[in-house]
């Protein structure tokens, strides 16, 4: 198990290098100028040149990349051009807020998705199966930013039950586990949960359906096991694949919620990324993309190791 883990860990290094090159190159290719974020539009050419030099933006791109990577290896992610604050503080603060949102969405999505998936798989080709399938396709297909706006109109504007924006009455720094704060989490988490509910339900349905039709299930029934005991075996067999899907979904929830965080003004990594894109804030953009990409890599590593722990066949492969 340890050697498997080490093998997977070593594979992370070239992936991390590739991620750093791609995320640096992508933001350099985009048109626009980071100085726009920090200087009045009518600053003179001389003042722009001075500022460009102050931020090292006058150096050739490969040199800028090497400086950036060199600083990264020393644990320094630089400073945001737009805000002047350290990128690490900005990114990890925002990632923390996104994790909170992603975790809340996962808590809603995964149990519901698994339950609906099993239900549909167990009662395959029945009206219930078709209803769950329709529901999960709707969940995957509905534009979640649109759903977010609709939920805001209903529950915030018309009914006044839940807040429409922000991470608590005093901002995310004052977060507490009470209703005054958690009510801010409800609408974005529900909106964010809709897609993974659909994906997890469809995956589990397919897995459960396939496993239930296998010979060993018939053998288990023949041995006299109860329906509940048989389902436990089915669940154990489905767990490895379902886990990998849920791990990826957690990664998407963390990094893929730009629109949701914008609609709900949630101060997470997606919101930060969107602002960094509009402001061409290169250090912040590179730092955010890198952290999110590495989170994905980390999630994949954890899922792979967990899969191997659950299903020894994975390790052998």
């Amino acid at each position: 198990m340890l050697s498997y883990f080490l093998r997977r860990l070593i594979l992370v290094l070239p992936v991390a290098f590739g991620v750093s090159v791609v995320c640096f190159a992508l933001v350099q290719i985009a048109p626009g100028d980071p100085l726009t974020a920090i200087m009045p539009v009518d600053a003179t050419a001389e003042q722009q040149a001075a500022m460009r030099a102050a931020y090292g933006l006058d150096k050739p791109v490969p040199v800028q990349y090497l400086i950036w990577v060199g600083n990264l290896l020393q644990g320094e992610m630089g400073r945001s051009i737009a805000s002047g604050r350290p990128v690490a503080a900005e990114v990890f603060g925002a990632v923390g807020n996104s994790l909170l949102l992603a975790a809340a969405a996962a808590v809603i999505a995964f149990p519901i998705g698994i339950f609906l998936g099993f239900l549909a798989g167990y009662f395959r080709d029945t009206a219930l199966d078709r209803a769950v399938t329709a529901l999960s396709i709707t969940g995957v297909s509905v534009p979640n930013y649109w759903l977010g706006i609709v939920l805001v109109i209903i529950f915030s504007v018309n009914l006044g039950w839940l807040p429409s924006m922000g991470a608590g009455p005093g901002g995310s720094q004052d977060w507490q586990w009470d209703w005054a704060h958690m009510r801010h989490l409800v609408l974005p988490a529900v909106t964010l949960a809709v897609v993974p509910i659909g994906i997890v339900a469809r995956t589990v349905r397919a897995l459960a359906g396939d496993i239930l039709s296998m010979d060993f299930v018939t053998a288990l029934y023949a041995k006299g096991l109860s329906r509940g005991d048989v389902l436990r075996h089915v669940a154990r067999n489905a767990a490895a694949t379902a886990l990998s899907v849920m791990g990826l979904q957690l990664g998407y929830l963390l990094g893929g919620s730009i629109l949701i965080e914008t609609v709900f003004n949630w101060p997470g990594s997606g919101f930060l990324l969107s602002n960094a894109i509009f402001q061409r804030d290169l250090p912040l953009l590179q730092g955010t993309i890198l952290v999110l990409a590495m989170f994905f890599v980390g999630m994949n590593l954890i899922v792979d190791v967990a899969q191997a722990a659950i299903d020894p066949r994975v390790k052998r492969n």
């Binding site: 048109p31 920090i38 805000s83 706006i149 429409s164 003004n265 930060l272 061409r280």
Partner: protein
Amino acid sequence: MLDLRKGIAALALSVAVLAGPAAMAQGTLRIGMTAADIPLTTGQPDQGGEGLRFIGYTVYDALINWDLTQGDGPSGLVPGLATAWEADEADRTRWTFTLREGVTFHDGSPFNAENVVWNLDKLLDESAEQYDPRQSAQGKSRVPAIASYRAVDDLTVEIITHEPDATLPYQLAWVMMSSKANWEALGKDWEQVAAKPSGTGPWMMESFVPRERAELVPFADYWDETRIPKLDRLVLIPLPESNARSAALMSGQVDWIEAPAPDTIPAMQGNGFAITQNALPHNWTWHLSRVEGSPWNDIRVRKAANLAIDREAMGALLGGLMIPAKGFVPPGSQWFGEPDFDVTYDLEAAQALMTEAGFGPDNRLKVKALISPSGSGQMLPLPMNEYIQQSLAQAWIDVEFMVVEWNQMINLWRAGAADPSVEGSQSINFTYFIQDPFTGFIRHLDCDLVAPNGTNWGHYCDEDMQGLFEEIKTTFDPAEQDAVLRRTHEKFVDDALFLMVTHDVAPRAMSPKVQGFVQPQNWYLNFSSITMAE
């Protein structure tokens, strides 16, 4: 008995008066800004007009402030931390500023001439210990006239300009004064100051969460008693997405939002929210290329285009929240003057001018226009430009658009009309802040500011116009200077130097609880008069 009652009443009144500001403090006002972050808090804010509106003129003062107390007429300059200023009659480059006595910063330190010099060094002297590149990036380009400065005594500052420049008072209205003592107390670290700034303004920043909120409270010792805030607290919340802003207002999470989307306004009004607006020194134009070969070099074409747009009808696109352009500055501006050319809708006259210029239905003029799908202050650029495209087509002008993202648009604006990057575009739809003589007139058409070295995008250069700009800079009496500015504007309009379309009205939506707000004809606001009803 009657006397006793009178005595009790007088006593009660005295107690109320003595209680003063504390008794008047009324409620919390929460504002949803369009900015994505709290503007830079250390003194010289970033994020353009919104930065100065919410952090600049609240927490800080300039030597010379804008009058933000009335909305009936144009907003002019008023004494701020300087009570008087004048240019030496013998040497017009030498200015003397008399500072206000008894002013203190929020940290309790006194404001004096040393602070003024220290603040100017903060922006202009790279060798100074307190030099801050971030604040300098915002402030240095605003005070191009300043050559040197010194403290004459505790309450007198002398500023020398490179050449006689009567627009210096307007330039100084950009420079906010932060506290030297506070910077020193916080380890001479601007990052620390950002979390705990200290100015002389009517509001003190109490707390600050980057990208989420800033909370301001009244400064009870503010030097101008009429501007001591009546509210208990002012909360600033960045809400860059317009639907999120509207939802936050309608669900009661904020009391005021900037720039509501036009299509949400009927719903807001239907739910009892107030929409405020007033003329704003801002215009929405096409800046025309005057490089060799540009069709806009022909005054008949320029006038024809200006006559081909039905601006009143265009108002429907913006929910009526616009002022149809009659010139380069809004019609109520102190600098509008009496131009001869009437900027109006007259298609027949437009077609006659085009015929005179050699064009017609079978010989249409083709032009290329640079536009962006969105951008700061650009209003609704796509539908508005499509409307103009259709309007100009009626005057036999066919418009081809070059659409670029806003950030790239700024680069192309800086590059100028002759740069290959604009790919032969003959106009740029770039909205302008036009609040002072330099930003309003000079920077767009000065021969010495031709792009890319300056902001004259179209490469226009005219001897008479240059003479007027020189006269603006050398007319030191404010009333006479206004007269020169009126003549300058008349030339802007009579020569149809821009395609003049609309002016913004700075719409904001607010809860009916917000009371006492006066929207000045200015980019900045006074929040001190506001109270919140129960």
